[in-house]
Symmetry: C2
Subunit: 473 residues, 2 copies
């Protein structure tokens, strides 16, 4: 039964997206324009994201800390490219009570300035390095057009800020963290993202270079989902972050930052959800199994409870929906919330020694014996779902991956069905600007894959880079 | 060896406090006046606090969500007492980029307004109730005098916001959460706090009543550490939070809020730390055991590693300090950081089949056989430390708990050695004001303990309440 609260994905993708967000109670609009309430269902996914990413960061030697929300104007201005990049979106605090503040404070949109200011005080020798710090926090950017999770004025994220004694170490960290993000998208979110370097035009304000993780949505639109920036000594010069190296000489430190945000929830929806609501990969689902007893008999209740206890004891997060609603309503609710596996324990089926499993991803139903090894069966089923969600996303991504050898190709693709468009580029920003005229198509990243041509897709001159292009959110 | 970076606690308590904060690298000042950097050592304690409290909240049926940081001025003004209570401390965002915003936004100092605004939209029937929501976030209050953790312009906290269909349910929640806070202080932080109702004068702006958890610091000064507020229908009337009750009549919802913050780190320090640095109760220590190998021999290394693995495998968080520093330096560092147990594995001792345990709390050393059951011995030792830290804190608190029967008693106590002062009160604010003239002494809470007099400590009229008084941070 199709969920009536949800517009069909193929009819109106944008409407479908916000319908899913609301129907699955992930987030809602608030009286604060452009800012959302992340509701318990959405926040539970974010908590699961946090716990897995945080454990991985710590495994790699990172520790968490917390710097202030407000950044004094004079501090921000020490790095010109950064403030220029963010200036129009910065919100300023100027008053306290009924008085004017002596200085304006920017509400943090990113924390490079404060981390550099901190490191400046706390680093003296190469022995203090590296510093591998991370911060989980809220940031604010005054976006004009907003959509829940995708682009919200306030969002939650983690921002890693690391300093190193050598360029090599900092470069290694920059690439390593991009690998972590890629691993997270592929293995946990079941999203087969691509990654590579941003072009000069698209890199982070003030960075030497930016690595990016790019996801492809169901409708062929691209989503930047995780970036890792290498700053070299640029910021440490602006903020005077120096240390004494092994040769006893003063040197500016090498700096990296990397971040991933609640935008991941947008990607999860736009890659996996369907007309019935959310579909969560088992590894990120806060609740993995719902057990629905059908009928009031003691046997139904006992078996449901037994399954639930066994699954939870074995690390599979399960719950029984024993509310007063009808079975049909419970099925639809579990579907809209994206619970990966549903187990139906019904009076009639039990008489035949059967229970029913339903996969959320394919909506397939399997009848099994009540004597099944419930833990091993469910574990295998969850892994199967995880894998096939990835495989289906990859298959779709492959279908929506194109090659363009000239501007006509590019136009044809973008006017028919956008996606990841592979095309060679001369390295000239003029060509990027020309391509952007076609439906706002931008370079997503420079890929290390083999060249597909010797000439630029736009000007026809010698090609320097193999670039993936696309329309972005 | 006393830590030279730390002023003696008995010489200058205020200086000692900030010295411990710095020496243990819990927090540092920043370029943002009144705002601190919570450094990795401090943040790790906060993470442990969060994980234990959050698990307890969830066990009791609460879920987390996230509301915006910025609150539109018109929304704030719907509840007059609240805005009056917070007005002088509110910081206002008024500009974006180089433009003025149409409306001012307060940076949240507490989120009652936004939660009520959210509930208004999401509650229609008694079937939707209760809503047991909690939020972990940062809040901002422009305090004039600040001190790390104790009173910072920005701090981290959790704020629970619950709505109920009946006054009984809401009252039960208000008391239940105060019990949770008390449990947390007593059982986890080893702080024997007292609790009770705030007087009308001291309650939260807009609440019907406030329950509070009050800790006593080493120097006899009191610290409010966790409050639980009952609002009845007051806020739901101001914000129009209505539902249809079982009798099919429209009714305003019953509302509670409760919060605990990074101020707990201040309490931990001022109750347990000493002239050697931080002392952490084992249940809240991010690292519970440090193993220090003395000497380079293979046996020393192997045994250290074996102990460390065994302890970690059995849920005792342990690490080996195998840095290049001298053993004496390592001892001092583990002490200043408050690691509950230190195990010294020394070449010379091993020849005699011995290893040494050191308790951080008493600084006692115990020589034990290398064949000891390391896991069970350490587990017992950690529990012994936890219990004796609580017992010592309670013993001190008892010593600093006094009775006053008239104003002269009160003055004498406050001029000699402040603490928790038990005294009867008529209920008249004039008497509270009169008592406040003595060194700023305030009512901490109304206790349910037996009366100790029939007359008010101040005016001598009939006593209504048994109150605990004290000087506060």
């Amino acid at each position: 039964m199709k969920n009536n609260a949800i517009t069909s994905r193929d009819v109106d993708f944008a409407k479908w997206y916000t319908d899913v967000v609301r129907a699955a109670q992930l987030a809602d609009y608030t009286s604060v324009k452009g800012c959302i309430a992340i509701e318990p269902n959405g926040y539970a996914i974010w908590e699961k994201i946090q716990s897995i990413l945080d454990a991985k960061f710590k495994e790699l030697g990172h520790v968490n800390m917390q710097l202030p929300l407000l950044i004094p104007e004079n501090l921000f201005q020490q790095e010109k490219e950064l403030i220029e990049g963010f200036a129009p979106e910065l919100v300023w605090a100027t008053e306290v009570g009924d008085k004017k503040l002596e200085e304006r404070f920017a509400i943090r949109s990113t924390s490079e300035t404060l981390f550099c200011d901190y490191y400046k005080k706390h680093i003296t020798s190469y022995k203090d390095l590296p510093k591998l710090y991370n911060q989980w926090c809220n940031v604010f950017r005054y976006e004009k057009e907003t959509r829940p999770f995708l682009r919200s004025r306030e969002f939650l994220w983690q921002e890693g800020h690391t300093v190193h004694a050598t360029a090599e170490d900092a470069l290694e960290e920059t690439y390593r963290m991009m690998e972590v993000y890629k691993w997270f998208n592929h293995e946990i979110l079941a999203i087969p993202s691509v990654s590579g370097k941003k072009t000069e035009k698209e890199k982070f304000a003030g960075a030497e270079f930016t690595l990016t993780n790019e996801d492809l949505m169901y409708n062929g639109v691209c989503l930047q989902d995780g970036t890792s920036h290498y700053f070299g000594q640029k910021f440490s010069k602006a903020y005077d972050v120096k240390f004494t190296n092994k040769e006893n000489q003063e040197e500016y430190a090498y700096y990296t930052t990397w971040g991933k945000s609640t935008r991941m929830l947008a990607a999860l929806i736009m890659v996996h959800a369907d007309d019935y609501g959310l579909v969560l990969p088992p590894r990120i689902a806060p609740k993995q199994v719902v057990i629905i007893p059908i009928g009031k008999g003691a046997e139904v209740q006992q078996l449901s409870q037994k399954y639930c206890d066994l699954l939870n004891q074995n690390g599979i997060v399960s719950y029984i929906d024993d509310s007063e609603k009808s079975p049909g309503f419970k099925f639809a609710e579990a579907e809209v919330n994206g619970i990966p596996v549903r187990i139906e324990v019904g009076e009639r089926d039990l008489k035949n020694g059967k229970i029913t499993f339903a996969r959320r991803d394919t909506r397939e139903k399997m009848e099994e014996s009540i004597d099944i090894d419930i833990v091993s069966y469910t574990k295998t089923l969850l892994e199967t779902i995880q894998k096939s969600m990835y495989d289906r996303a990859l298959e779709r991504q492959n279908k929506l991956t194109f090659e363009a050898h000239n501007l006509e190709d590019m136009e044809k693709i973008l006017n028919t069905q956008p996606g990841f468009i592979h095309a060679m580029w001369c390295g000239d920003e003029a060509c990027e600007n020309r391509i952007k005229e076609i439906k706002g198509c931008k370079s997503r990243c420079i890929t290390e894959e083999e060249a597909i041509d010797d000439h630029c897709v736009c000007c026809g001159k010698e090609a320097k880079h193999h670039v993936i292009w696309g329309i972005q959110y």
